[in-house]
């Protein structure tokens, strides 16, 4: 991405001077100085907990800084709430959308910004405005559709429209691509570039260095609450940014030797799984994983990965099909199927550690035996000493920080929580390890560690099934890639040969045919396909087998 000429000379839109913010003993923002120029895309990168979101929340008026000054267009302002921020032209697109599902797009856009008690005039006014915005910035969304019927990418557009409708000329986007498919992300970036070319200022918070390189003009790196440096994007590189973020050299590429596949350990045959609404999500899927290989399942989120993982790990009943482990069929029916899967030698790192893999109110040691509690102690009683002894060993081996097994698990960072889960599942010496989203919400330093552990397991002769929506992760870890689309395996690829583009097309359900050329302002064909399936399926929802609530 070329930096527009003269960006450095363009006037300053926002300036932060000496911002400090404490949360109890945590110094979340340390004397932050930041200059953001008008008409640029400014990236802010940093690991989880580096203070990015806190800083943006201060700018948007969610928090008040302990000290420091915010200048908007050269004028100092004490921004006290988000209404105030909006009045200054600062709008925010949240990571988790703040939309009312059963309102239409139009109603959502005007919500909180009504001109008068009577709605009709506001709605008509908004309708013309939206039409203009849609025309100018490729932000088409049918204003009369209910938000619950929109795809995730479209909902994000509604969020952007909301901000623009309120007159924002600086837009803050917090991890905007986390929920998007690759084509949707490309579309978002086109929109952002158009907004920038119209003179809007964009602040992009992300941890994906690829996005920083692709779209930003300048990038600021934060580490442990401090602003490390601001760089011109064209003059930096991902390795340099990664090093600044982590504070040490990081290997962005996974180093692994060739695989030595042995005999088939996990075999899935004609598996059919439905979701809670009895809609088939996994349709007649068959595959196998050999000892000593990593099989990656690529796919856009919501194409049946969750149901596949939950079914193989015994959390969700299958409709039909056979799952064999080491040649023996597994019977996983009932709501304690996961216990039988573990007994048979299958360990499971779940996709969503907070929802499934951990009990955040438990102490660390309790979580390090979750699922294996029946192996501790004879009869009824729980052998707490043995459990704590094992927990201490895992903490040491996996470098879990802080190394206190009595601490409540909610108080660990995302990366360390993930290490607790990984240690628990890997240290039981399973034959088969199934891993969902191993590095979701985990910072770069921990990602490196986790990837290395997974490869170590492979080299120790374990069969590993890896599911991730991060295509990079799938490509760099897997020995074979299967692409899941709409509950079916639509292709197999060799990670050494397949390009990202080829995989992307498979993931979008386009079989080997080239996509028709996309004209300006129209959606590429594969994007429509993806959105259509997302709309039909609705958001990923499942309450699993629990019968509570």
């Amino acid at each position: 991405m070329q930096r527009p000429p003269g960006a450095a000379a363009s006037p300053i839109a926002i300036e932060l001077i000496g911002i400090n913010k404490h949360f109890g003993p945590v110094h979340a923002n340390k004397d932050i100085h930041l200059v953001i120029r008008r008409g640029t895309v400014h990236g802010i990168v940093g690991e989880n907990g580096a203070g990015k979101s806190t800083l943006m929340s201060i700018l948007y008026g969610f928090y008040t800084a302990d000290s420091g000054e915010i200048r908007v267009n050269g004028q100092p302002h004490a921004i006290t709430d988000s209404r105030h921020a909006l009045a200054l032209g600062i709008g925010m697109v949240h990571q988790h959308f703040m939309l009312v599902d059963n309102f239409t797009v139009l109603e959502n856009v005007v919500l909180g910004a009504e001109d008068s008690p009577l709605l009709n005039r506001t709605l008509e006014h908004a309708r013309t405005q939206l039409a203009a915005l849609a025309r100018d910035y490729e932000l088409e969304v049918d204003p009369d559709t209910l938000v619950e019927n929109l795809s995730v990418g479209q909902q994000q557009r509604v969020e952007i429209l909301k901000a623009l409708y309120r007159g924002a000329d600086t837009l803050i986007l917090d991890e905007p691509t986390g929920v998007l498919t690759p084509p949707e992300a490309d579309h978002l970036f086109r929109i952002l570039k158009m907004l920038r070319d119209e003179g809007k200022t964009i602040i992009l918070i992300t941890h994906k260095l690829r996005e920083i390189m692709a779209i930003t003009d300048e990038v600021s790196v934060m580490r442990q609450g401090a602003m490390v440096r601001t760089l011109t994007t064209a003059e930096t590189s991902p390795p340099e940014l990664a090093e600044l973020m982590v504070g040490r050299r990081v290997l962005l590429r996974v180093e692994k030797g060739p695989a030595n596949p042995g005999k088939v350990m996990l075999e899935v045959e004609n598996l059919v799984v439905t979701d809670d609404f009895r809609i088939p999500r996994v349709k007649n899927v068959s595959f196998s994983v050999r000892a000593g290989e990593i099989v990656g399942i690529a796919g856009v989120a919501g194409n049946g990965q969750s149901e596949l993982l939950e079914s193989v790990s015994g959390m969700r009943d299958q409709q039909s099909g056979v799952i064999r482990l080491n040649g023996k069929p597994l019977s996983l029916e009932g709501d304690d199927g996961a216990a039988r899967a573990r007994e048979a030698g299958l360990a499971h790192v779940p996709e969503d550690r907070l929802r499934m893999g951990l009990i955040t109110n438990f102490q660390e040691w309790e979580n390090s035996i979750l699922g294996y509690q029946d192996r501790y102690g004879k009869g009824l009683s729980l052998d707490i000493d043995k459990a704590k002894e094992d927990a201490r060993a895992y903490v040491e081996k996996f470098d879990i920080r802080p190394p206190t097994i009595d601490l409540k698990t909610a108080n660990f960072s995302g990366g360390n929580q993930q290490k607790i889960v990984l240690a628990r599942e890997m240290e039981r010496n399973p034959d088969v390890l199934i891993v969902g989203q191993p590095t979701r919400g985990v910072d770069i330093g921990a990602i490196e560690f986790i990837h290395n552990q997974i490869i170590k397991m492979r080299d120790a002769g374990k069969a590993i099934l890896l599911v991730s929506v991060e295509l990079d992760e799938i490509r760099s870890l897997s020995d074979r890639i299967l692409v899941l689309f709409d509950g079916e395996i639509v292709g197999e690829a060799d990670p050494a040969v397949a390009t990202e583009g080829e995989l992307g097309l498979l993931m979008a359900g386009v079989h080997a045919e080239p996509a028709p050329a996309a004209g300006p302002g129209t959606l590429p064909a594969h994007e429509t396909a993806v959105e259509k399936t997302l709309v039909e399926r609705g958001p990923d929802s499942s309450s699993l087998k629990d019968s509570q609530q």
Binding site: G24, A338, R355, E366, S381, Q548
Partner: protein
């Protein structure tokens, strides 16, 4: 904001809540022209000051411990069992069937069987809502409330048609012979006057220990807490949520059934219409005030026991303070410790964070 230190959370906060409740109660007493300090003195003396009063306090406490433990155990599994009232009442049938069936046999043989009978009948009354929740998704709060009503009517019917001796006028069963009843402490220790506290009070203390051990030192307790904190993670951990819900409700109901051993087997010596008299509902307040911890339940049960006994003493000694006012004071305690138990938490947290980082 930082969470409160453990001691402040489990001791200081409940203590402040109780103090606040008594303060408001004191205002009520003062409003009718009585001396609140004198009233408090009478209550404390009435509850702890002499053998007979203490005996009554312990008798009430016994009931509240069982009911409080029943609610607490279910609460750890994420189940809000507000049916100890009905479970205790239904448990009464189990106790009276055993006792009348073996009427005349010494208590040290029949007593344990009454415990089993009461536990079994209470367990059945807990199991049905548990089953409906686990297999049919009926919400346990609704079903346990309704089962309280069903127990009232059903047990009343059984008393009327089966248990009432022919020709008797009262709505109660025929009496258990003295030799078969659970002995009262006054028969060994004259200090307790004519109070009804009986050996069941020791069973209550044993249950406190048992529940503690069960929840924090067994695999079963681990599974209970996993289920209560995160049912999805429990499913991931291979814990059968359905089985756990039913098992926990069985145990919870059995604990509530012990109330019947205390009353039917140890005090009244017969099954009287509506003998539970609200003890099951007090158990809900006791469990909340005790933060579902068995030791907390023990202490708050003692507080409520003292309130009950001290309250009746107060109504007796200070005619200006009516029974309704005492009920109001008791309600204040429930209100401040149960429903509004967290009202002082945030101010307290602010205070503590001020102190730790000046």
């Amino acid at each position: 904001m930082k969470p409160l230190p453990r001691w402040a959370d489990s001791v200081l906060l409940p203590l402040l809540n109780v103090t606040l409740a008594f303060f408001i109660g004191g205002l009520i007493v003062a409003a009718v022209g009585q001396n609140p300090l004198q009233a408090v003195g009478i209550m404390i003396y009435g509850a702890f000051g002499y053998g007979n009063g203490l005996g009554y306090t312990l008798y009430y406490t016994t009931d509240f411990i069982f009911a409080g433990l029943a609610v607490s155990l279910a609460y750890h599994a994420g189940l809000f069992n507000i049916g100890p009232e009905g479970q205790a009442y239904f448990g009464g049938l189990g106790v009276i069937f055993v006792a009348l069936g073996l009427n005349g046999v010494p208590w040290w043989i029949v007593g344990p069987l009454m415990v089993i009978g009461g536990g079994l009948f209470g367990a059945v009354w807990g199991f049905i809502p548990g089953y409906l929740q686990a297999k049919r998704g009926s919400h346990i709060v609704i079903t346990t409330i309704l089962f309280n009503f069903i127990a009232t009517l059903l047990v009343g019917y059984v008393i009327d048609t089966v248990l009432r001796p022919p020709g008797a006028d009262n709505d109660e069963s025929s009496p258990i012979l003295a030799i078969t009843r659970v002995p009262q402490l006054r028969s060994f220790i004259p200090f307790f006057g004519h109070s009804p506290v009986n050996l069941t009070v020791f069973l209550a203390l044993i249950c406190v220990g048992l529940v503690y051990w069960l929840v924090w030192h067994t695999k079963f307790g681990f599974a209970i807490r996993a289920l209560g904190q995160n049912p999805v993670a429990a499913n991931y951990a291979g814990i059968s949520n359905q089985k756990m819900i039913m098992l926990v409700m069985v145990l919870s109901g059995a604990l509530a059934g012990m109330v019947a051993v205390n009353n039917v087997g140890g005090v009244q010596g017969r099954l009287i219409l509506n003998f539970v008299n609200g003890a099951g509902f007090v158990g809900v307040a006791v469990a909340f005030m005790g933060r579902a911890h068995p030791v907390g339940v023990l202490l708050s049960a003692l507080l409520f026991g003292a309130l009950y006994q001290g309250g009746s003493e107060l109504a007796f000694s200070m005619p200006g303070v009516t029974k309704e006012m005492i009920l109001t004071i008791q309600a204040m305690v429930i209100l401040f410790t149960g429903a509004m138990g967290d009202m002082l938490r945030i101010p307290l947290q602010k205070l503590f964070s001020l102190r730790s980082s000046p």
